[in-house]
Symmetry: C2
Subunit: 245 residues, 2 copies
């Protein structure tokens, strides 16, 4: 696969470089004028979102500007600037119909993540290899940040790739993830929204419980699925600095 | 009641002043050479411990040295340098026997806290008033830190005294505390040990749930009752700085 930087802008001390790697569309955030190796954070977005979703952008800018990290965010398969295949379109339509008919969403969400995770893990592994070949990223330590679908695709990635040494995960239940979660052994900070109407509390607690890591922290805050408080970005920055710094 | 400073030492930039207020024995930590008002943190120790228990000392030194706070720690009724009364001695003996006989500890622990909390709340209110009259403490914003019994006595204090504006609590279940917890409305950071052999996980989650605060955060970490990781002191320092700074 060919890695191409396609455009570049800088805002508030952060340079954003759009890239493609084969069919993968992504964006790389680095401190403006950065040279030499630095720790890298991979950021996975939520379901139906894309590489520049507000939650990803906000975190990426702070991790880069305040922590000196490089951050890579990519569109998940069938998301953002990537084409949607027939199987995904059919599956997503079917999923909506079954949710509307009252089927338990946890199983449907898990099936959707399962449909995407093989490709998503391969994408991240290729992107990790490619961006670490850039002079201003280099072969530093690597972390992963992803909640909701970003957690559902991140857990299999962490189970598969030992280059990733710390992760912020959360906003998802254990359904379909018990086995890969048990293979995750790196430090994890896990976010849970106490009043999440999409993810039952006990299922999210069970996913935290299932993680094989001895060093894991659960942060639970009031509010619904999308309401992670801003101070959790401080915590994530400090967590990554502690483990990748 | 008469407030008397009884001794003074300084270590690593922190001045410790032992004091008595009537029958209450306590210690006040301030930055060495401090003058003028500053935020104050009240620190309550665990059951069977005292005002200079390691967890209290470690937190007090960091809050003072790194945050510029004043910290007041006192012996709970019947603890530390304070005399034990007949009722307490009888109650404690009875409690041990009933635990040894297999009775659910949650109810016994709650009954013990209930026995002490009336006096403990009055003690803290008097100490808060007295230390804020000192020039190097003054009438700044006030926080409370206490886990285990420090939480069991802290929840009624927070419910009773609106001068306290933020609290770190935890390591305790909801038994006997649902009503005062619902009256707590200040920001709370709540610590839970995931493998606590003394406090059932669901009871601790239920106490977090019962807190009336809209701004509350649960931090859960692996390990038993006494195993709060050191980085939670960083989180507590930042929490108090955010809410009292």
């Amino acid at each position: 696969m060919r890695f191409s930087l396609t455009s570049q802008t800088s805002t508030d001390g952060v340079t954003e470089q759009s890239f493609t790697l084969g069919e993968i569309t992504g964006v790389l955030f680095t401190p403006k004028g950065a040279t030499g190796p630095r720790p890298l954070i991979l950021m996975g977005h939520g379901g139906g979102q894309h590489k520049r979703a507000p939650g990803v952008l906000a975190g990426a800018h702070r991790f880069t500007a305040e922590g000196g990290f490089a951050v890579a965010a990519i569109d998940a398969p069938n998301h953002g600037d990537r084409p949607k295949d027939e199987q995904f379109i059919q599956f997503a339509g079917d999923m909506q119909a079954r949710m509307a008919a009252g089927e338990d969403p946890a199983g449907l969400v898990a099936a959707m993540h399962d449909l995407l995770s093989g490709q998503a893990v391969a994408d991240w592994q290729a992107v990790l290899t490619a961006v670490q070949e850039l002079d201003h990223v280099g072969a530093g330590p690597v972390g992963y940040w992803g909640v909701s679908m970003g957690c559902g695709l991140g857990v299999p990635l962490l189970a598969a790739d030992s280059r990733i040494r710390a992760a912020v995960l959360g906003l998802l239940g254990v359904h379909g993830l018990a086995a890969p979660a048990a293979r995750v052994t790196v430090p994890v900070q896990f976010l849970l929204q106490w009043d999440d109407t999409r993810v039952p509390r006990d299922q999210a607690l069970a996913l935290f419980d299932a993680l094989g890591s001895t060093d894991k922290t659960l942060h639970a805050n009031p509010g619904d699925h999308g309401g992670i408080p801003a101070f959790e970005t401080d915590h994530a920055l400090r967590f990554f600095s502690r483990h990748l710094g």
